[in-house]
Amino acid sequence: MRSISNASFRAARVGAVVLLVAGGAALGAVSPAFAQEAPQTVHPNRCGEDPSYSLTGVKGTFVADPGKRVYGQSGVTLSISAASGTTWSGSVTSATQGDINAIIAEAKETVSVSIGYSKTTTVSLGGSWQVPKNQSSGWLALGSEGYTMGWYYGYNNGNCQFVKTKSGTATLPAQTPYIGHS
């Protein structure tokens, strides 16, 4: 509905300017200042005006909650166990709660419907893993397959130039949980 209203509004404004310019050319009465300002309010390419969120560089990744990760040095056998009902969350940088909601809605629509900000286990999970000798340290974590991506928010100005006003990164879980290590 909003885009239809804007398009109608834009068409009305374009029509008004065309009439004024035509009238000015015919009558020679349009001031130079108005003639310079008028094109800035016209969107001949019909570029979008609505503010929008966009996602970039979407990649699949293991999404671990930093609060559900155990670290150790080489040779240590790490373990983690989580009861049913344990929640793990992703992260979104440089974002308000409103931004997060909008980014997740965009990600659900364009990447995967299973994306969310957090997930909760419905079973008990546990695992252990020895940090191999060829690593100086390692970690074991509760998480799931998910996605990492960049995000930005912006709008098109009067010259059809996109103006980016906010940006950050998002790491969001999408699938059932498992224990990952590295």
């Binding site: 559900k68 155990v70 040095q73 989580a82 252990s128």
Partner: protein, 150 residues
């Protein structure tokens, strides 16, 4: 490095952490859940001591506290591995260090959800002293048990 799924992530029955059924521990800690610091106490810190430890396992340290604390391990004798299990409530991390070197560490979980139990089996060769420091933010509450299995 890309994370790999751990192959044996079958649903383990690790809920039954309330109690030492084998009777093999020399100093089993209290199994009373520890209320969280938030006041809401929706989920208490779980007892991190496993229930399936082998006969002859020695509990070296069992402590519930908050912030940074030092613990002194008793004589380790011929123990080849010292195991640590812990759970923590807070918004930062918990680190266990030996002579300034981190042996194991983890994130901690704010209240309001289940707390994972973290663990580390530390080879004797990595242990240089019997005085370990548990490093955490002053607002972080933790429950830890250190034991040596035969």
């Amino acid at each position: 490095m890309r994370a790999r799924p751990y192959p044996a992530v079958a649903a383990l029955s690790i809920l039954a952490l309330a109690g030492c059924t084998s009777g093999s521990h020399t100093a089993s800690p209290s199994n009373t859940p520890v209320p969280s610091q938030s006041g809401s106490a929706a989920v208490p810190l779980p007892d991190p001591l496993p229930t399936d430890l082998p006969v002859g396992t020695k509990t070296l340290i069992s402590r519930t506290s908050q912030g940074t604390q030092t613990v002194t391990l008793p004589n380790l004798g011929n123990d080849k591995t010292v195991s640590v299990k812990w759970a923590c409530e807070g918004s930062t991390t918990l680190k266990i260090t030996d002579a300034g070197k981190a042996l194991v560490a983890s994130g901690c979980t704010p209240s309001g959800t289940q707390f994972p139990i973290y663990g580390g089996d530390i080879p004797r060769s990595l242990i240089t002293s019997t005085t370990w420091k548990i490093e955490a933010d002053p607002s972080t509450t933790w429950r830890i048990v250190i034991y040596a299995a035969p």
